[in-house]
Subunit: 482 residues, 2 copies
Amino acid sequence: MMIPNWLMKRADLTPDRMALSFEGEQWTFRQLKEEAVEIARKLRKNGLMEGERISLLGPSTPDMVFIIHGCLLAGLEIVMLNSKLSTREIAWQLDDCKASTVIVADEFLSRVENLKTNVLTFSTLKSSGQQDLSITAMWDPSRTMTIMYTSGTTGHPKGVRQTVGNHTSSALSSVLNLGLNEADIWLCTMPLFHISGFSILARSVIYGMGVRLYEKFDTLAVTDEVRNGTVTRISVVATGLQRLLDELEKSDTIAHASLRTVLAGGGPVPDEYLRRAEKYNLPVLQTYGMTETSSQTATLSSEDALRKSGSTGKPLFFNQIKIREEEKPGDLGEVLIAGPHVTPGYIGYAADKNPLENGWLPTGDIGYIDEDGYLFIVDRRSDLIISGGENIYPAEIENVLLSCPNVLEAGVCGQDHPEWGSVPIAFIVKDGEISESELETYCREQLAGYKVPKAFHFVEQLPRNASNKLLRRELKEWMKRK
Amino acid sequence: MMIPNWLMKRADLTPDRMALSFEGEQWTFRQLKEEAVEIARKLRKNGLMEGERISLLGPSTPDMVFIIHGCLLAGLEIVMLNSKLSTREIAWQLDDCKASTVIVADEFLSRVENLKTNVLTFSTLKSSGQQDLSITAMWDPSRTMTIMYTSGTTGHPKGVRQTVGNHTSSALSSVLNLGLNEADIWLCTMPLFHISGFSILARSVIYGMGVRLYEKFDTLAVTDEVRNGTVTRISVVATGLQRLLDELEKSDTIAHASLRTVLAGGGPVPDEYLRRAEKYNLPVLQTYGMTETSSQTATLSSEDALRKSGSTGKPLFFNQIKIREEEKPGDLGEVLIAGPHVTPGYIGYAADKNPLENGWLPTGDIGYIDEDGYLFIVDRRSDLIISGGENIYPAEIENVLLSCPNVLEAGVCGQDHPEWGSVPIAFIVKDGEISESELETYCREQLAGYKVPKAFHFVEQLPRNASNKLLRRELKEWMKRK
C-alpha cells in the first residue's frame, strides 16, 4: 500500500502538537514542516534532485532533524554517516555509496574536507536561496529512504537500504506493542545516524509524538527528565541505563509514574540492572533489533518484563522470528528474521548480495525460543563486540592491523568492561619491530576511537582451526587466563 | 506486505489478556483462539474448504464471534447477512453472492429454511466432529475477508468486498488517531454484520484490546458501563448517543474519566447532542465511514472535538479525501476517498463495476473541506435515509412498491424523526384500488422492518424533471407543507 508522506500528513493532522524540543526550544509539527520544506527548497536550489543519493554527517541537533526531513521531502536517499568514524572510514563509505554530495555540519567539516566529494555545509545550505519543488503526498513503500552502514563478519561495512515500508511497518509494529497516548514524548539521546535514533524520528511523525532531543547522553539531564515525568518513553543502551540507575540510586529518587517505557536495546542488559531498574520504577523492556531490520524485531511487552526477565520478547505484530533447524522449543540455533521491516538489500559493493536465505534474514546471532514463544539471545552475531551500544566487528579491526607494517597476523576479541559492556582487545604476531603505542597510533588514524583496541598483546601464533580459520573464541579464553 | 493471521498472532503475543466479555462471561485471547480453531476444524468437517464463500446470519453473541474467527482461520470468505432483512431480501443476497452454505443461528433458521441453499445451523456446527486443517500464519492483504451488502442509488444492493488489507489498514489508521492503551476495552453494541461492529472485532485482535459485547443497545447497561469506567471506548449512532444522554441526565451522573472515546458514526450527530455530551463528560468524536471503506475514513481527533464541532475531522493517517472539482477550501462538492481501506470492488451482479473513478471512490455524499482541512458532510449520499444508523436507499423501497399491484408510480424520501433521526415516507400514484394498510402489509413481507415506509401519501403525480427523473428533494418539500 502507498504510504503518506510522513511529515506532510502529520503536520496536516496535528499541526499544533509539540514535535521537537531541544535545549528549551520547541517546534510544533507545523513548524517542523515549515523548516523541512524550506530545507527541501534549498536542497533543490543546490541542484539536488529527486531520487539522488546524498550522505549526511551531523550531530543530534534540531538542524540535523530539519535537514533529515528536508531530504525526505526533496526525495533524496540519505546515507547516514556515523560521526564517530575516522576520516578513512568515512572516505571508504563515501566511495562505496557514490553519494553525489556530503551534507555536513560545519563542526565536522574537517572530517570530509580533503576527500574527493562535493561538500555542502549546514551553514551554506541554510543560507542558500530557495527553489520551488513539488512535494509528493504519497510515498512508494519500496523507496529507499535511508542507508546505514553496518559491518559484517568479513570486516567490510555494507550499506543497508531501509525503505519507507521498512521504517513504517517498524513503527506500526511497535505501536501495537507499546501503545500510544497523545501526551507521549520520547527522549532521544541515541545518535540519529543509528537506527535506534532515526526510528524515534520516524515514530514521532507517524504517531504525532513529541521528541525531546539531546546531542548526547547527559546523565544528569536524563535523570531529571525521568524523575520529573517530562518524558514518557526513552531508548537506552546498557551503558546509559547503568548511568541512569547510578544517578537515581545516588539521590534515592524513583522515576515518575508517567514514564511508561525504557526501551533497552543495542545489546544485552545485565540481569542486575533489571533488578535495580524495578526498584527505581523504570519499566525496562528489552528489545532486539538491528540496522537490517529498521529497529525492533522483538520487544518484551510490559506485562512480561519481570516474568520473562532476560528475554527480548516475542516478534512484534508484523514480524516473524525462527531458530535455524529448531526441532523443539529451547533448541539453540541461529536467529532468522522475516517481515516487512527487513531490508531488501544493500548498495555499493554488496548491492548484488541477497540478505535473505529462503525469505529469512540470517542474523548470525545465536538464541532460542522458549516454550511460551519468548526469544532469548545467548550469543551475539559471530564475535560481535558491542561497546556502549556501538557494534564492532573484529574482522574490520584485524584488516586495519594487517595493513600495518611489521604485523604478520592479528586477532581481535571483546573483553568485558564495567562501563561499556565490552571493549576490543588485539593479539598480534609480528614479523618486525613495532610497539604497542605505534599500533595504537596507527589504528587511531584509521578507525573510530571506540574501535581502537584497548590493549595489544604480542603472541607467537594465533589459535586457528584445521582450515586455518581464526578462532576468536579461543582468544577470549586466552584473555581470561591473563 | 503480508499480514499476520490476526488471531493466531494476537494469541501468541498476549494470550492472557481479556479478549471478549458477554453477560458476565470472559474469554482471553488464548481461549478465543481455542474456540475459533475448534470451529475452523468443524467447518472443515462440514466440507467447507479454504477460499470458499459462505454467508453468516446471527446475533451479536460470543458464538457469532467464535464462528467469525473460525471462518477466518478456515480461510472462508464471509458474506455478513443483516439479520434485520426480510426473507425476500436475504434470498436476493444469497442468490447474488452464490455462497455455498448459509451458517445460521438456530433462532434465525426460519429466515432461510425455505430457500434453495445449503444450511448449517450454529448448533449443528458446534456438535460436528473435527477435521485437522493447516492454519496459515500469514495472510495475503488482497484476500477478501468479508462481504457486506449495501444499496446504491439504483436500489439493488451490491456485495462489497472487504479485504485483509482494507480491515488492517483501517485499524492501523484508527490507532494512530485514537491511541492505544493496554487497558483499553471497546464496548460493542453495534451489529457485527455492519462494518461498525465488525471493525471493533478486527481492532480487538490487531490491538490486543478487549471487547465487551452486547446483543443490542441496552441503554441502562451501556450507561452503567460508561459511568463505572468498565469500558474506555464505545461506538454509537446518534440514536444510541441520545438514549445514553437521556439516561445520564435522568440520574445526573457523568461518564467515568477512563472513557476516552465515544466514536459517533452512521450519520450526522445533532449539535445539541454534542453540547449535552460535553456536559456529561462524553468525549464524542464524529466519524465518517462506510461499508466501502471498511469503517472510518475521517475522524475528529479528541483535541479538535469542541473546536471543530460538526466536522467529521481529517482523513486518518493512511487515507485521503478530496472534494470533486474543488477550487478553494469551503467549496461544496461530492466527497471522494482514496486509501488502502477502500474496497477493491464488488461480487455478484456488480462484480464488473469498478467502484473507483481515477483511483478515487465517489461517495455520493456532498461536503466541503474548510481552510484548516476539516471535512464537513452537508448532505448524505443521494437521497440516502439514515434511520438509527441503518442506511436506507429510497430506490430500493420504490422498486418494491412498483412491484405491488395497482401502484403506478412511487417515490420515497426521509422525514425527520426525534428518535431514529429519519424514517422513510412514500408517495404513491395508483392506477387501481389499494389502501395504505395493504401497501404496508405488502412492504412488510418484502423489506426489513426499518425500511417499511411510516406513511403512504396518495398523490396525482410525482415531481419529475425534464428527463423524467424523480426529484426526491421535491418530495421532502411536499412533506414539510403537509
